[in-house]
Amino acid sequence: MSAADRARDALSRLVDASATERILISTAALVLSILIGAVLVLVAGRMTTCTAGEAVYYLGMGFCYDPVVVFDRLFLGALGDPFSGSWSPNGQFAVTLRETTLLIFTGLSVALAFRAGIFNIGTQGQMVVGALATALGVLWASSLVSGALGTVVLIPFGLLVGAVFGGLYGAVPGLLKAYADANEVITTIMLNFIATGVALYLVSGIFKDPESAANQTVPLPEFAQFPALLFGGRQDFSIVALAFGLLAIAALYYVLEHTAFGYDVRTSGVQPEAAEYGGVDAKRTVVASLTLSGALGGIAGAMYVMMVLGTFQTGIPSYGFDGITVSILAGNNPLGVGIAALLFGVLKSGTTVVQFATDVPPQLVGVLRGLIILFVAMPEFFRLMARGLPGTGSKSKAVATDGGTAGDRGGETDE
């Protein structure tokens, strides 16, 4: 067996792995990435200088950075130190959940498109559009209502505005793909730039808060923002937003698995020819799924404005792009998106904790984070990619046999 054959073989094993196997593979990947990260921390620790008191000793050798502390801070720190007795809902754990909430929406956005066979790189742009629209819409509406009633009315209203505008912005590449045969990867990337550029233009011009030096809109009134139930308000997290996120996970799962629309989406995603045969309108499905995907991205933007910033400001962090990784990590399964978003949230929030607690340079923490994501995402990524390759798993074509033996596909490889 040549090396190429072995590689192909390994790939098909990945592609054909069952759900349990996939969880095992992911866990093993996580452990492996931590081990490799630990070695990196140790090596980096040998290459820097520190006083003897600060050093940590393993196997008789002194190291400046301690991988145990690093990973302890990265994970337990991100959870707000649940075993230390000083856990507070207003601490780092809230930051983790905040990040998780936003990533749930961008992750779901990417996952939905992926399930329809569409690579939506435009979640970031859809998020920007949704965020700006929400800020402007809620600002306008906040003059009409106020107080507790305002909160009850404005939050759903803001989310709706974000969803509608994000959805419309997602429909653009959908229409272009369906009716002009434009590749969605290109169009969504372009539309990201357009969204950022237009938002900057508007917010530095007509919608700019005259009292602020930053390019931002007038801040939303307090009642138009997510209430800080249970978790205090210090970390800009609201359990209500997370509840919406969990609801979105359940809803998307239900739509994909239990509705005719979801069936159309999934069929189009895995086998467009069979979908066409089964009466699925390919164009409509493309537009519908990108619109829905954009709406989820828009909601992420609305959350960011109404929960985190309280205003729209240019330079929205790259939640949209992180959503791609979250979705791949989750195998594009809505339920998996919840878990992947939590892991991602932990890593994001843990990074800051590590920086506070140790001398480890932030770049190295970034490397550790990247390693973990790379390791955990790679098997899923290969699964996705391998479906397009000949000779691996499900999509492989049988070698031209006469019709009678076609059931044997997959067992043989083309040359």
């Binding site: 005719a260 069936y263 069929t267 045969y277 031209a400 009678g404 044997d408 043989e412 083309d414």
Partner: protein, 541 residues
């Protein structure tokens, strides 16, 4: 003359199907040997065994008397076997030279760089030796299909092939290119190469080959000398004298016109007219069959009727409505069931289990879905009923479609479509790859539907199937209906000739048959008896 290739008792089993059953084949060095048979007869499988793509379940491959075991095509190539597949395996943006030398490039600078000059020289020399007219610097995407085929042949020769296997080489060629190909084959055999040539076209086999071996249902039914046989004899060998499935056809009350196709023109993916001005009607309670060699426009016609392809001219009416441009969904809703030709691309979602596949096409109906919500328990029951009634194995609704054998996939699709309570069933090769017992069952169900007044449009390249089931039978050749006949009044031989493009009452063979060798058939002694041993080989198990 020495034997170049000797296959001895090759048997190849796939789950549920015996593709090759104890096949012996001897090919003389320096000759063209045609492997003739219907679709699904096992020709390609047999050659894939020789080419190392499949390992035979039993039997032996001998080359020049030496036994060989091929683990992969690489081994077969090393032993001097070359195969030119029906679909070329060329890299379009690369040049002819690059494609021919790909993987075996002459090296320079101690092996780190490709010696382009030497590669080009080698290709030119090779082309000269065999009299190939080819531009070594042209890009594959810029040259004609015939030239691409010659590049494939040169590639095999460059790798040192002594025996070339050509899988349906004429299927993609124009008549002129076919002539050129046959000249090339002559040149190759003159220089001592051995050619095995897979085909289902009688005329071509007779024209190009020295010897012809006929496969039927995975068994070899005879080898004849091309100069001493007739098209009639070959057709008989190919189809088999005794019709296996003598369906009690009976008669049904013919009702109103359900589907009407008038003056329809359909272009294929390459923009060539695949269906040319075809008109026909299918009535309720009637099986309208379309016979013809694969690739004569049947697929495009069926796709136009079922809504997967837009006709370029003409009108299609279904149940009194004009559905020429109606969507698939509208046609499904209106009661059109469709067993597609390509079950793995179209008919089933390979990654889905059978429960989910049972829903395909019904997801917009109201049987299994209400208000857009799928009733999975009902859907499961539906799938299980199909599995049960159509004997799908393994009988497990949770198994993925891709894990099923081809025949069982087909049974599931047929079941799903037949149970749709349709007005019209369009069945394209409904029993392809299905085992004998299930063929019978599918045929019975088809006739039951007819009895219930359903209109049936049946397309099959199996003559016995279309002939046995149809009430009226159209024969299609190069996108046109050559004739519409009463299948009970027509012999298989007559049908075979119609399928080869000979129009009725067109005895001297000028009826537009540029490609097939009707002339050579006329020249040979038609009444010369076949080798008696062939008749003995010809019996079915």
């Amino acid at each position: 003359m020495a034997t170049a290739v000797h296959l001895d008792g090759i048997t190849k089993r796939f789950p549920g199907v015996v593709a090759n059953d104890d096949v012996d084949l001897e090919v003389e060095r320096g000759t063209v040997h045609a492997l003739l048979g219907e679709n699904g007869a096992g020709k390609t499988t047999l050659m894939n065994v020789l080419y190392g793509l499949y390992e035979p379940t039993s039997g032996e491959v001998r080359l020049g008397g030496e036994p060989h075991v091929f683990g992969s095509p690489r081994d077969a190539i090393d032993a001097g076997i070359g195969m030119i597949h029906q679909h070329f395996m060329l890299v379009d943006p690369m040049t002819v030279t690059e494609n021919i030398t790909l993987g075996n490039e002459p090296r320079k600078w101690g092996g780190i760089a490709i010696d382009r000059t030497e590669a080009r020289e080698a290709v030119v020399e090779l082309a000269d030796r065999y009299g190939f007219d080819i531009d070594p610097d042209a890009r594959i995407e810029d040259v004609s299909v015939g030239e691409q085929q010659r590049v494939e042949i040169l590639k095999a020769l460059y790798r040192g092939a002594d025996t070339l296997i050509l899988d349906e080489p004429t299927a993609v060629l124009t008549p002129q290119e076919v002539d050129e190909l046959f000249d090339v084959l002559d040149e190759l055999t003159d220089q001592g190469k051995t050619i095995i040539f897979i085909t289902h076209k009688l005329g071509e086999a007779m024209r190009a080959a020295d010897e012809i071996s006929v496969l039927r249902d995975g068994k070899k039914v005879g080898t004849v000398d091309a100069d001493a046989t007739t098209q009639e004899e070959l057709a008989e060998l190919m189809v088999g004298r005794e019709v296996l499935l003598d369906v009690d056809h009976g008669t049904a009350e013919t009702g109103a016109v359900v589907a009407a196709v008038s003056d329809v023109v359909v272009e294929n993916d390459r923009g060539v007219r695949a269906v040319n001005d075809v008109s026909f009607e299918v009535r309720g309670g009637e099986v309208f069959g379309i016979a013809g060699v694969d690739g004569n426009g049947q697929s495009e016609l069926v796709e136009a009727v079922t809504g997967l392809r837009n006709p370029d001219a003409g009108e299609i009416r279904f149940g009194g409505e004009d559905v020429t441009t109606a969507s698939r969904r509208q046609r499904i809703d209106a009661g059109m069931a469709y067993v597609p030709e390509d079950r793995q691309e179209r008919g089933l979602v390979m990654e889905f289990d059978l429960v989910e596949n049972g829903l395909l096409g019904s997801q917009h109906g109201d049987e299994l879905v209400s208000n857009g919500r799928i009733d999975w328990s009902k859907t499961r029951g539906h799938a299980e009923a199909i599995i049960d009634e159509y004997d799908v194995r393994p009988p497990d609704a949770d198994s993925d479609a891709e894990s099923l054998s081809g025949g069982n996939q087909q049974k599931f699709i047929v079941g799903r479509e037949f149970e749709r309570d349709p007005e019209l069933v369009v069945a394209s090769h409904p029993t392809r790859g299905v085992d004998v017992g299930s063929i019978e069952f599918i045929h019975e169900r088809l006739l039951e539907l007819r009895q219930q007044g359903v209109a049936i449009l049946l397309v099959s390249s199996k003559l016995e199937e279309v002939q046995g089931l149809s009430d009226r039978l159209a024969v299609v050749y190069e996108g046109e209906f050559i004739d519409v006949v009463d299948p009970d009044e027509t012999t298989e031989e007559e049908l075979g000739l119609l399928m080869a493009g000979e129009r009725p009452g067109d005895d001297d063979g000028e009826g537009g048959t540029k490609a097939t060798g009707s002339e050579s058939a006329d020249e040979t002694e038609r009444d010369k008896p076949a080798d008696p041993t062939d008749a003995a080989d010809g019996e079915r198990a």
